[in-house]
């Protein structure tokens, strides 16, 4: 069975002006979103308050979560601790709090009231403040991880292929990550450590995709003598198109089942990755390869390096 016509020759490269313009617009829009709207950073990065409550009757973590969400606390992580009658809630820091202690008292009280609204009577057992500096550290570590992942990828690709591939690969990666970040900002997703992991996954997946196309570009450059750079790149994209889409489909299947069945912990992870993979796949075709062309990749750059024969060089 074939889903795609193997002999198709879709002129992807002749759409490069349009596709790169769209990419540019998306990146600018995403940057605008990121800088104006920002992120809904989760407790992992911001610090916040932890409230532990105890009740006479068994507490349903789902009901507690719902009650808090109704009261406008946003997404609250609710975990049962040491038995069914006690729950811990991790709340984002209250805005305009004067001091850490004050914030704690206020949040604990508000939690108690919110739960009382939903007919859940609780006693606040403990409330703690999570230092924002810890979150800052995690955020910094995360940013450093992203940067290093990108750099290692670029170095590897530049070494295995050629610097133009490395450069267009990295620009493509940054493009994918910025647009994914824009998406996160747009839908106001809780940005926690799992979302950071998703971003790194997107970086890995999208470079995987780009390398497969680059590999084919190199192969065709080396074997086909008559094709110019534009035809070569276009042919490489078409040849690998079936693989790109099939792999996309299988990865999608895994991610969709994670999104719908994996529960709240991996929901954001799955959503971010799904979006990122769409962007990554599209950019391998519509963005990185035009970049490659503009950087002036040519057949001679990819010849297997042979020892130069001085006699050959002298011949006309």
């Amino acid at each position: 069975m074939e889903l795609f016509n193997p002999n198709a020759n879709i002129p992807f490269m002749s759409w490069r002006r349009i596709s790169v313009t769209i990419s540019g617009i998306l990146v600018i829009a995403s940057l605008l979103l990121i800088f104006t709207r920002g992120f809904n950073l989760a407790l992992d990065f911001t610090g916040g308050t932890l409230v532990e409550v105890e009740s006479e009757q068994a507490l349903d973590t789902g009901a507690v979560r719902a009650a808090l969400e109704k009261a406008g606390f946003g997404t609250v992580a609710v975990q049962s601790i040491g038995g069914a009658k006690e729950v811990a809630m991790r709340l984002p820091p209250t805005e305009g709090s004067i001091s850490a202690d004050q914030a704690q008292v206020e949040t604990a009280k508000r939690v108690q009231l919110a739960l009382a609204e939903a007919d859940i009577t609780v006693v606040v057992k403990r409330s703690e403040f999570v230092g924002p500096q810890v979150g800052k550290e995690l955020a910094e570590d995360g940013a450093v991880a992203v940067v290093f992942v990108l750099l290692t990828i670029m170095l590897y690709v530049a070494m295995r292929f050629e610097w133009r591939f490395g450069l267009s690969g990295i620009v493509g990666e940054v493009h994918d990550i910025i647009i994914t970040l824009g998406f996160i900002s747009l839908i106001d997703m809780d940005f926690d450590l799992t979302v950071l992991a998703a971003l790194l996954t997107v970086a890995g997946y999208s470079i995987n995709d780009k390398v497969v196309v680059f590999d084919r570009v190199r192969e065709i450059f080396r074997s086909a003598r008559k094709l110019g750079p534009e035809e070569t790149i276009n042919k490489a994209i078409n040849n690998t198109l079936s693989r790109t889409l099939i792999t996309g489909v299988t990865t999608f299947m895994a991610l969709l089942s994670l999104y719908f069945l994996g529960g709240p912990v991996v929901e954001n992870f799955a959503l971010t990755t799904i979006f990122g993979i769409i962007v990554g796949t599209a950019s391998s075709i519509f963005f990185c390869n035009p970049m490659l062309l503009w950087l002036g990749v040519s057949k001679s750059d990819l010849q297997v390096v042979k020892k130069e024969d001085p006699e050959l060089a002298l011949r006309p």
Partner: protein, 619 residues
Amino acid sequence: MFDFPKWKFGLVVGLVLLATLYSLPNLFPQEPAIQISANRGATIDEVLQGRVEGALKGKKIEYFGLVRSDNRLMVRLPSADAQLLAQTTLSEELDDKYTVAMNLASTVPGWLQALHAKPMTLGLDLQGGVHFLMEVDQKAARDQLEERYVSELYQLLRTEKIAYRSVTRTRDGLSIQLLSPEDRAKALAQVTSKSPDLLAEEAAAGDPNVLLVRIRPEMIVAAQKATIEQNITTLYKRVSELGVAEPIVQQQGQTRIVVQLPGIQDTAAAKKILGSTATLEYRAGNDSANAVEAANTGRIPPDSKLYYDQSGNPVLLKKELIASGDQLVGATSGFDQQSGTPMVSVTLDSAGGMRMLDFTSENVGRPMGVVYIERVPETRVVDGKELRTFKETQTVISLARINGVFSTKFQTTGLNSSQEASELALLLRAGSLAVPVDIIEERVIGPSLGRENIEAGLKAMAIGTAFIILFVMFYYKLVGIVTVIGLGVNMLLLVAILSVLGATLTMPGIAGIVLTLGMAVDANVLIAERIREEVRSGNSPMNALKAGYEKAWGTILDANLTHVFASLAMFAFGSGPIRGFAITMFVGILTSMFSAVTVTQLIMALIYGRQRKVQAISV
């Protein structure tokens, strides 16, 4: 390419069997249990076993599988409720000589355990775990800071040859007792010029021979901040030495640290490591006064302090500190080559080493004592209220003559057993907490949410995999079926390796596995698409098959290696959950390269390699 030698088949079959064996333990669920371990001085014996059984029978708690070993007693219980009840009952029954902790007992059969096959541990989000809240003792931090400056002042006075009586810590600061107002003036000038961290009072207090010195307030604040940071670092190291894959060590509020140990339910061991703080202090021995006499009469020389050694004999040591725990760089346990007794080999930092060199070069042949200070937090119920107290023991563990001049490297002998030596070395190696950290709260995170998560995760994994399998088999026919077998092998290998590595499985980890599966198919898609291309371009079926594998290999290698590098960078620079995810991805990529290429190639060779004339490849 398709003529595989027999050994290669054997190797692959062997690996698959091995992987099956080592992923097997994951199928055995863990059972709730109570673990009783002895603290210093107490023993686990038949008497204790009798008490435990009596207490459980008295409360009519069902139990089974009671196992007693030299250092712990395990009791298995039928349910989590019974476990909780048993813990409360037993902690009341046994006093503070024993630690009663909830644990999970393995049900993996003995023959598998003998092969060191163990299940993957589940993260805090999947099965709960231990949660500690620890308080850093800021008063002790202050005390220590002052002690350090007292030592510094002693040294300053000596090097500048200013006659002094003593340096003491008072409520107002550090007070230097000198012999004359002239000496006081000299000391004032020296302190002002040589110790920028200290503020010496110009005006003489009541006594004209006394100089009052204060530590600059910004120094105290900086020291307190450094204390918290140092504690977080050392706690993290200690926790890592406990074998926890993704510990959480975070600052909470001003003086507290949260420690979460996923997968570990053995609070006893964790508490011992985290809660007690051991510090070593190297002090000069006082051999000019008689220690026994000082102990009897209570007349202790002003420059000395009275300690006791392990057998209770009095020892006099000078107040001046030579080196302390925070100057320790490393400590390893071993056996002393001369006496054969357990010892800890100690390395000091350059500051500590320099002072040690100064001291030992002037004092060869004189005694030097090592004070082992241990603080263990205790909880007592007084009048219905919980009372937190600390038991601090200062014991001189060795009083030895200095045999030669040494600086940063030397040995501490005189430990009771090799167990104590290695335990002490562990505590010291972790950087030695400069300031005591007390556990003020200890909780076991309930498994309810964990159960929900693991169920959801497994369901997502099963359904996602089922869809992938159906799709691949439908789309690539026989090659698809072989791919699915490869995926199965990949799964087995991944689980086996993660189990053997002792990795902790978290929710992001499950996501990582599902994702690895999705991407592992990529290698096979590359191969299958290549075979199709070769068939289309008119190659014979067998040649197409060979060329498919050959040409796809280069691409697979490049694509996967970039991934490997990405996961390595993620591991090196990420923290906590990111790391768990990175490990899963790293292992997953390696196993998928093996199973997607080598294993499927072998199967293809089995199917097509023996046919004399291959008509077509089912792809």
